[in-house]
Symmetry: C2
Subunit: 274 residues, 2 copies
Amino acid sequence: MHLSIEIICVGTELLIGKTLNTNANWLAKRITNLGAKVERITVIGDDVGEISSVMKNAMQRNNDFIITLGGLGPTFDDKTLEGIAKALNLKLEINDEALKMIKKRYRSYMKEGQMKTFELTQPRVKMARLPEAAEPLPNPVGTAPAVLTNCDGKTVISLPGVPSEMKAISETTVLPILKKITGGLAFSEKSIVMTGVVESEMAPIIDEVMHNYPRVYIKSHPKGAERIPKIELHLSTTAEDPKIAKERVSRALRQLSERIQKKGGKIRHARRKI
Amino acid sequence: MHLSIEIICVGTELLIGKTLNTNANWLAKRITNLGAKVERITVIGDDVGEISSVMKNAMQRNNDFIITLGGLGPTFDDKTLEGIAKALNLKLEINDEALKMIKKRYRSYMKEGQMKTFELTQPRVKMARLPEAAEPLPNPVGTAPAVLTNCDGKTVISLPGVPSEMKAISETTVLPILKKITGGLAFSEKSIVMTGVVESEMAPIIDEVMHNYPRVYIKSHPKGAERIPKIELHLSTTAEDPKIAKERVSRALRQLSERIQKKGGKIRHARRKI
């Protein structure tokens, strides 16, 4: 099944340029490889109004899953669930299962001697305050559980922003859920780097090949320094069958390569996989 | 003057996880350092409908500048100006000044022997088709000019997505424009890395210091591996005077450090500048 996904990244550190958004990149790549489509990535600061406003707009668009990254921890600046609850008109309430997960985590910290005492303080309880009817997803490497909220025919999944936690929960829970829905859909891509033809002369060639292979998306990325025409050409497609996807990209790439060579261009790195 | 900015990144390569969004990170950091505020970063694919929809929404929000990155080149997938024109209800028309810039660039390619002949082909003319009343900004290192469009009290600046071109145009034209408006506003930030106190125990300490220094924003970033509490604390502020900004952050940091040490925490890298 075709699957449309939006990613919402919450974190002022992303807006001030302190943190490079490697989370969105990692997740987008993994989602794409399952044959699903990331339609949009939005980055906002740690602000309930902003989170709620972006969520509300995303709920109105044509997507199946909304995945939020960041803002699930115990500190005051972790506001994602509050923003989601506001947008979806849900109450935040203590989720017993989430609270169990959190207690279990802190008990293991104590066992290993990292903490001497454990109190269920307000900041710790905060991580168990989920939108009503939401479901906590286990966090194998950190304290804050991830959260799955079904609402109005969409699924909202909230993951922590710490990369190791985001990746662990994605691998164990989120990506398997998506894979089950997309079924056998497969994404295939290939790239070549071409020299000797400037981008404006490549335009009609790309047009022609895309016309002949309408399901293959070709994008040109100028890579050269100032005065050396060097362009990466990236071909990709999604198909029911991985073999069909791969063959389709290969055939389009063959035609593209022929046309480039006719124009006097040279292909520097043939069929490099990215 | 306070200045609110939104960044819109156009490029399917960002949504499939092929390209890490270093452009948005670079630009956000530079804008922040001028004392202006990036409110939101949105990433969409090479699709006129999507570009136009994101632009329309951004025009309705409370910001002064909208900066788009990507989609200005000569190939079919460069659709940013078409999307902007659609959103702002402006016609696209050949801009004579832009056409001159493009011709000049190709003539220099010919002079240097990279091209034998030069024709003003459709893809080349395309780069000079700007929204009516828009102004081309010179691109010192590439063919496609950047574009400045004033509309409804906001300024829309469109930059190419090739990093070297985006950076060159920002340095020579865009950042100076923003700096002129923000005037002497200065951004100051400091970070420490702290061990020995878990994030949930840090929460009330951060709350207290932020209460005492309401203009300093403190954010905690858990950095530890699974079972080692290690948190980066990032403090930042914006002020009329760089000295005031720096002192304000220093004072808040001093208080924060004292509170952490009282809790038994250790500060590993004091006052590391990022």
